[in-house]
Every structure is written in C-alpha cells, then in structure tokens.
C-alpha cells in the first residue's frame, strides 16, 4: 500500500479494499454454509459490498449516477429477496429440509 503517513482524508482505494473484503466474505459464506437462508444472506452481503464500490466511485467522480445505480441495485435486491424467499418456502414445503446439499436432483 502506498501512502500510509496520515493523510488528511481517506483514500478511495481503502473503500474499494473494504468492498473487496466484504465481497470475498460473501463468496466464502456462499461456498461454506449449508443452510439455504444463510446462503441467501451471503448473497445480500455481496450486493452490499458492490453498493459500497458504486458509492465510492460516485464520490470520486463527483457524479450522482453511481448512487442512482446503487438505488436500482437495492430495488432489484429487494425484489429478488422477496421472490427467492418464496421459492425457499416452496422448497421447504416439498423437501422438509433447509440443507442446500439435499437439493441436488438436477444432475447427470
């Protein structure tokens, strides 16, 4: 990292690094966890990380379109959460399990 003598502000790249870390955590959770709901929450975590990136860039370029994009991401995430949870409810009704590994009949 370059520039660690106390800057008079926060470099943009730190926001981007934070976003990367949160994204990686989201991916990690997606791969590691077995509960469907937790996996879904990790998806939301990933979306939030990306939102942070957009806002950071919006600030850097002094444009508001980055924030507009974040707005739309949030809308879509909400819609997706609604529908996804409905699907999870249906799957649970059919299979009585929340283990993601059990939902594997779509295979060779």
């Amino acid at each position: 990292m370059n520039g660690l003598p106390v800057p008079n502000g926060v470099p943009i790249s730190w926001f981007l690094l934070l976003s990367a870390v949160l994204f990686a955590l989201g991916v990690a959770g997606f791969i590691i966890r077995r509960n469907i709901l937790t996996v879904f929450m990790c998806i939301e975590l990933m979306l939030n990380a990306v939102n942070l990136t957009f806002i950071a860039f919006a600030n850097q370029h002094r444009q508001v379109s980055g924030q507009i994009f974040t707005f739309f991401v949030m809308v879509v995430a909400a819609a997706e959460a609604a529908v996804g949870l409905a699907i999870i409810l249906t799957v649970f009704k059919n299979r009585e399990t929340l283990n993601i590994d059990e939902v594997n009949t779509l295979r060779n």
């Binding site: 991916v27 791969i31 077995r34 996996v39 993601i100 594997n104 009949t105 779509l106 295979r107 060779n108």
Partner: protein
Amino acid sequence: MTQNLWIIPILPFLGFLVNGIFGRKLPKMIVSLVAVVSVLLSFGWVMKVYLTAGDLAANPVTEHYFTWIRSGAFNVGWDYTVDKLTMIMLMIVTGIGSLIHIYSVGYMEHEGGYYRFFAYLNLFMFFMLNLVLAANYLLLFLGWEGVGLCSYLLVGFYIVKHSATTAGNKAFIVNRIGDFGFSLAMFLIVVNFGTLDFGHVFAAAPGRPTGTLTAIALLLLLGATGKSAQIPLYVWLPDAMEGPTPVSALIHAATMVTAGVYMCTRSAVIFTHAPAAMETVAIIGLVTAAFAATIGLAQNDIKKVYAYSTISQLGYMFLGVGVGAFSAGIWHLMTHAFFKALLFLGAGSVIHACHGEQDMRHMGGLRKYAPITFYTLCCASLAIAGIPPFAGFWSKDAILAASYAHAPWMYWIGTITAGMTAFYVWRAMFMTFFGEYRGHGHPHESPVSMWGPLAVLAALSVVGGFLFNVPKILNSMFPIEEAAEVPWLVYVSVLAGVLGIGLAAYMYVVNLDLPERITKAIGGLYTLVYNKYFIDEVYDATVVHPLVEGSRSVLWRGVDQGFIDGIVNGVGQESKAVGGVLRLMQSGNIRSYATWVVLGSVALVIALGIAGGVSR
C-alpha cells in the same frame, strides 16, 4: 457446307436412350425396330457423307462442336474429322453393325432381356463411332473406354451365369491394364506436344527426339494390345465368348478389337519415327498370330476356334502395321471384318440349329440341315484361308509381301501360320458340316433375319478383296512403295492355305481315326496346347491371386477395417470418454457450482488484468 457428322453417332445413342429407358414396356418389335433403324440410318448418313464430301484425301471433313476442356494453354475440343481412313472405318462399323443388328433380331428372339441387349448394342455403336470419328486422342480414348464398358456389359449379358459375369470382369479389367498404357501415352503427348489434337501432334512429331516418340509409341502399343487382344493381354478374348454370338461377331471380330489397329494406323506418324517401336509391334503381331493359331488347332468349342482365330488375324494386322504396310493392315482389318463376322454369325446359326450346342464333337453332317449356313461359311473359310480370289487372300498377301521385304523370316513364320489358319478353320468346317450328325435333337436352318446378313457378308467375303483396294484408297496417306516383285511369295502362301485345307480334309473326312492317333502320339504337347499353354493359370497365380489376397488381408482388413474404421470409431469412443469425464461436473450440488463460478471469475479478472484493464 457442314456434313453434320454428329448425326452419325447420335442416332445409335438415341436408340440406346429409347430402348434403355422405355424398352421394358415396349413390345419386342418396336425395340428391334428402333435399334436396327437407328444403325441403318447412321449407315445411310455415312454413305451420304461419302457421296457428297468430295475428295476426302485433299479436304478431310472436320467439324468442331464445343470446347471440352480448357486449362491454361491446353485445349481439347469435341471434334470429328473424316478422311479416307475414317471413311473406311465408318463404313465397316455402320455397315457390318447394321447387318449384325438385323441378325440379332432373329438370334435373340427367345432370349430374356431383349431390350437390354439392343440398348447396349446401340450404346456400343455410339462409342465406337466416337472412337473412329475423333479428331484428338482424348475423344478417341472416350470411345475406347466406352466400347470397353459395352464389351463388359454385353459379355456378361447372361447375368445369372457365373462364368459370363466373370468373363465380363476379365474383359474389362484386362482392358484397363491396356488403358493404363494408353493414358500414360496421352500424358506424354500432352507434356511433349501440349495438345492432343491429331493434326497438331502429327505435324510436330517428326521434330521430336526418337526416345520420346518410342516411349509414346510403346505405351500406345500397350493400350492396343489390351484392346486388340495381343500378347500379353489377349487372355480376355476367348473368355468373352460367353456373351451372345452377335456380340462376339460385332465387338470381338469386326469393330472393337480393331480399334487398336486403327489407333496405331492413325498414329502412323509417331510410329514411323520410332523404329524400335515399329519392330516391337511387328514382332508382337507375328508371335501372337502364330501362338494363337497353335491354340486354335486343338479347340473343340466352335466359338473358341474362331476366337483364337481372331487373335491370330489381329496379329497379322499388327504385323502389317509393324513392317510399315499400314494400308495393308487396314485392308486386312476390312476383309477380316467381313469374313470373321460371317464366321461368328454362321457359328451362331449353327449353334441355333443345334439348339445351343457349341461343342463340335457333337455336331456333324449339318450341310443337309442348314445349307445356307454351310455355303456362306464356306465362303468365309475360303476367304480366311487366303485362297484367291476371295477377300482374305488379297490383304493377307499384301501383309506377307511387306513382311518379306522387311525381314524374310517373318514371312516364313507368317506363311506357316497361314497354313495353320487354313487347317483349323477347315477342321471346324469339316467337323461341323460333314460326316454324320453326332448330336441330339433335330437341327434346322435359321430364319431369314439370320441368314440374310450371312448372305450379304458372304458376298462381301467373295468380292470385297478386289473391289475395295484399300492401299489404292489410302495412297495419299500411305504411299504405295514400288517394291521389287518376288513372284513366288504369292504361290507359296496360297500353297500353304491349300495344304492346310487338304490336311484338314484328310484328317476329318477321309481318315477319321487319325486325329485320335495323333493326339495320343503327341500326348503332353496336345494337353499343353489344348489348355492354352496354361497361360491363364500362370497369370492367375502370379498376378491375380497375390493381388486379391494382398488386397483382402492388407488393404481391407488392415487399412480399411483396422486403421480407418479404427480412427472413426476411435473418435466416437474418445468423445464418449471425454463426455463421461466432463459429465461429472454436473453434480447437482449448488456449492460446487458456486466454486466453479468463483474460480472462473478469478481467472477472468486475471485475464482482464493481463490484458491491461478496462479502458478508462
């Protein structure tokens, strides 16, 4: 004014199309009418061209129809040309062709596949006429191959008979070996002359090196030995007797087998400038003549006798060409067409009379039952024996005189062969028409449609020799040389003929146990000759069998089944195997899918990074 030469071959071709496509549904009468009329009209047109074309020696008729091949500077057109040589060949082909078509109407009356026979016969006429009319080697070769094809189709006409189909294969395949030589000759011509057109090649030939011309001539000779049944490629002709007798008469006596002689005569310029090749031609012709005559002495099937006789007489023609007497060779071609066609057609009449019997040992005394056949065959046999004033005498004598002038030993062997010729032909005559009938059933004379052509051909065999003096006709192309007259040549050769007839009469009419005693006395030699010197067996063992076995084990099992099928099947197997491995990725487990996605995205980001990042 154009002579529209294309009409000559087109008419039989139309006959072929009509009979080939519709023949199955047409009544026999229409089929035969179409076939015969098309050839007769063709003959009529030939006569018309002859009468209206003026002096063909000075102004040969040439017609160009379209450009067949154009490749760079190399041009081959569909050109016909008629000069005096062509005119002789055209008259022979269409004239004798018409007679044989008429004869076939009677002969094939009770045979199956009637329309097929006439369709093939017409197709043969088309190709033969193309061969004769061609003005360049490629068109000649087209006709050459075409007649070979028709020979195969017609020899194997009785498709259910195994021996017939095998004979058809043999004819075609042995011909192909000759055609290979012809093709190589054509390639050499193209390389050296840049064109296949007769006019251009013959004009440029005298200037070329002898070695090249000898190579071309020898390769052309190879082709000719295949088509005209000379040593070493004669073996197909005796087997080709499996075909119906009119086929033997037309194709294997009068027209197709003469194509080789015609081709060599047409290429006379090349041959005369390659003396080594000419010598080879003469020697091959002479040896074949003698060799085939010896085999003919011992045969019992009447058609086989005439088949070997054909080979022998073709040998004479090649002898004539080889010693430089081109017009004598063509003269013999013409007279041979007359009497050999007559002999075969007569044999067909005899076979018809004996209800299919071909073995002469079961014939005899037929002159009571089939007198017309007898008298016409007498004319033919006298002609082939070289008795004056019949046709064969003039042409054979011209060849023998020329060969004496070239090399006396050739004359003596030729004369001895002439004696043998007379002997075996009259042996056949005596065995068939004299003595007591040794067969079963009641022999009868043939119908008019069959003895009509016999009569015409007999007349031609009598007068055809001195009526058509071919060397005079072809004087402009092959000038007659005034050689020193050796008077006793004629007498010796005629004497040989008479002796042959006399000996045959003695052995087969007067003293009937003599043949048996002689056969027993010379035992082994007789077996050798009777079995055609086992040449077929030798060819079979040295060439045919190894090829077939090699083909079967190496090419078929090894290369085709093992290698090629192995590759194709192997590709299939490999695909299946790879697919089987890739299939495991589809596990249905969401987490593994997610992992793949992450791995992929890492790779993508790295790739993007290496590529320099997104543009900003």
